[in-house]
Symmetry: C2
Subunit: 340 residues, 2 copies
């Protein structure tokens, strides 16, 4: 970074230099797919996933080091009474992840996925977005850089998850700022807010967006003003994965909001990403559609932690193995369709 | 069986003595679920699956010996030109399953599932249903009994799949006979029939149902006249699993037709079953809804072989492990909601 540069300059530079799709690798997958022992198209989305893996990894689909990365942050906005759980639950749940007691731990075991937890200064909540910016530019850029470490260990499939009491309110604020509409459209029960709690969330994000309204044309400004540390870190991780050709599975309502910041900066920035699961949080499906995506799973979950992405990773692993492991009509001595 | 008994008598007797739900086991799961470290309901269908596993296994959810059983049969109806693939593909694909080269083999590896292939007299196709009954009662009952062997090895989750050139036509005939409507509503491309091929399938099942119309009030008669060996074996396996308290995941369009025979005999006969995946075969979703079910996955697949059930088994394993492996609020030292 030049001595005179602003903290976001490096991020903006990465966004300008993102690698595009490896269409040759995808084409090789499509060709091999046509001779595998099944009717053409019969594996549906599994075939699309195999092509997508090749397109964004640049090689034959293979998942040997899948990783779930959970980013945890705390939020000043909890002072506004937006969550039925107290803020200390964030650090307690991080301890639960580390002790192996959370849902995501079990799903990682069941699907043989690695798990890393990134806790982000949990004792220093970000600013209350309804009265000030969540972070300054330096803190936001540094947290994005920290999130980039998620791909440093050489994973070949990155699942993006999060934990943070109050962070469905932050996610709603980001969606409202990025996509517009009405505040009420973007809020929901989160961990269990009742009708009054949901109305309170709408008021809070309305107030926050009103406060910062003159600075929301730049998506990175949206992120630092209305976001939070786990959002910055997730955006950094997704961007770093793109640079290093690591396909990504994004988890639910909260993780998708971090991804939406990148999409606002460049509509192709999420082409290396799948949405793993559509949350029961009502606004998630709308956000997914605005990003031009189709979720892989719909199991009525609304937990975060990367649980939806991790379940989807099981499907993606199967897709990769079907492509690489299946016999061809010739090699298996199976007669192909007599019509084709 | 009494010396004077008919071959179906044993089956009818099993249908009369099916065990019901273990509501106490399900209640224990619901109670423990309420103290696990997550907001109530946040795992959505995974929570329902954990309760369902307890209800039908009679014990704490645990999947340690999951099995995919593939039943393969050949069909005289292929003489009517209903499939673009020749009948010899059935035995070729069975060899492919045994050599590990099919899609189902890869999905079993990815999800750590056992696999057993039951080939059912492939060199003796059943009768062409458009001109005669597929089987006599003795052959049908014997094949059902053979299918019951699928649970003999002590599995705790049985995935039901199949292979058989021409068997989407058989499945369509069974649905048409059991559910009524128009023949065209129940046919689709199968392995890849074109518009003319699909119309041919509708003609064939219409002719078959017309031929057997005076004998279709008894679902077991529907099975023996319009079914096939893999259908009889799948129905036997599903029924045997119920008797032995083994939860079942049913695969796609074809496997669901075998299940529909049992449902017609007793509407509670599939209460221990999930539908793993809704097929791209258009009539599958209608059949699933008529059975009162909701599929777990929707990935646009239409392959059979148990692939949809096996992918769903990965989800079910995760659901069981979440329930058994997660910490409670107390044990993890996590604060519960301050509203509840």
């Amino acid at each position: 970074m030049a001595a005179s540069g602003l903290p976001f300059d490096d991020i903006r530079n990465l966004l300008r230099t993102m690698p595009g799709p490896d269409t040759a690798a995808a084409q090789r997958v499509a060709e091999r797919d046509g001779i595998l022992t099944k009717p053409p198209g019969a594996l549906g989305r599994l075939e699309e996933i195999a092509e997508w893996l090749a397109m964004w990894s640049g090689r034959t689909p293979e998942i040997s080091r899948p990783l779930v990365a959970i980013f945890a942050g705390n939020h000043g906005v909890t002072a506004q009474g937006v969550s039925p759980f107290p803020s200390e639950v964030t650090v307690q749940m991080v301890a639960n992840f580390q002790a192996g007691g959370a849902a995501i731990n079990q799903i990682c075991i069941a699907n043989d996925l690695g798990l890393k937890v990134f806790d982000l200064a949990l004792d220093m909540p970000t600013g209350d977005i309804s009265v000030e910016a969540a972070m300054d530019e330096k803190a936001c850029a540094a947290t994005m850089a920290y999130g980039m470490e998620a791909v440093a260990g050489g994973t070949d499939l990155l699942c993006i998850g999060e934990m943070g009491i109050g962070n469905t309110t932050i996610a709603s604020a980001l969606y409202f700022a990025l996509f517009g509409g009405k505040a009420q459209e973007w809020v929901g029960p989160g961990t269990g807010a009742d009708t009054a709690g949901i109305a309170r969330k709408a008021e809070v994000i309305e107030q926050a967006v009103e406060l910062h309204k003159d600075h929301l044309r730049d998506p990175l400004e949206v992120l630092r003003r209305l976001g939070g540390r786990e959002f910055a870190a997730m955006a950094g991780a997704i961007l770093a994965a793109r640079m290093q050709r690591v396909p990504v599975i994004i988890d639910g309502f909260v993780a998708t909001a971090a991804a939406a910041v990148l999409h606002a900066a460049d509509p192709t920035a999420l082409d290396h990403c799948l949405i793993g699961h559509v949350s029961a949080e009502p606004a998630h499906i709308k956000a997914i559609e605005l990003l031009g995506k189709k979720p892989l799973l719909d199991l009525g979950m609304r937990l975060g932690e990367g649980t939806g992405a991790a379940l989807a990773a099981g499907i993606v692993k199967s897709a990769a193995l079907c492509h690489s492991g299946m016999a061809t009509f010739d090699s298996a001595g199976v007669s192909n369709s007599d019509q084709e």
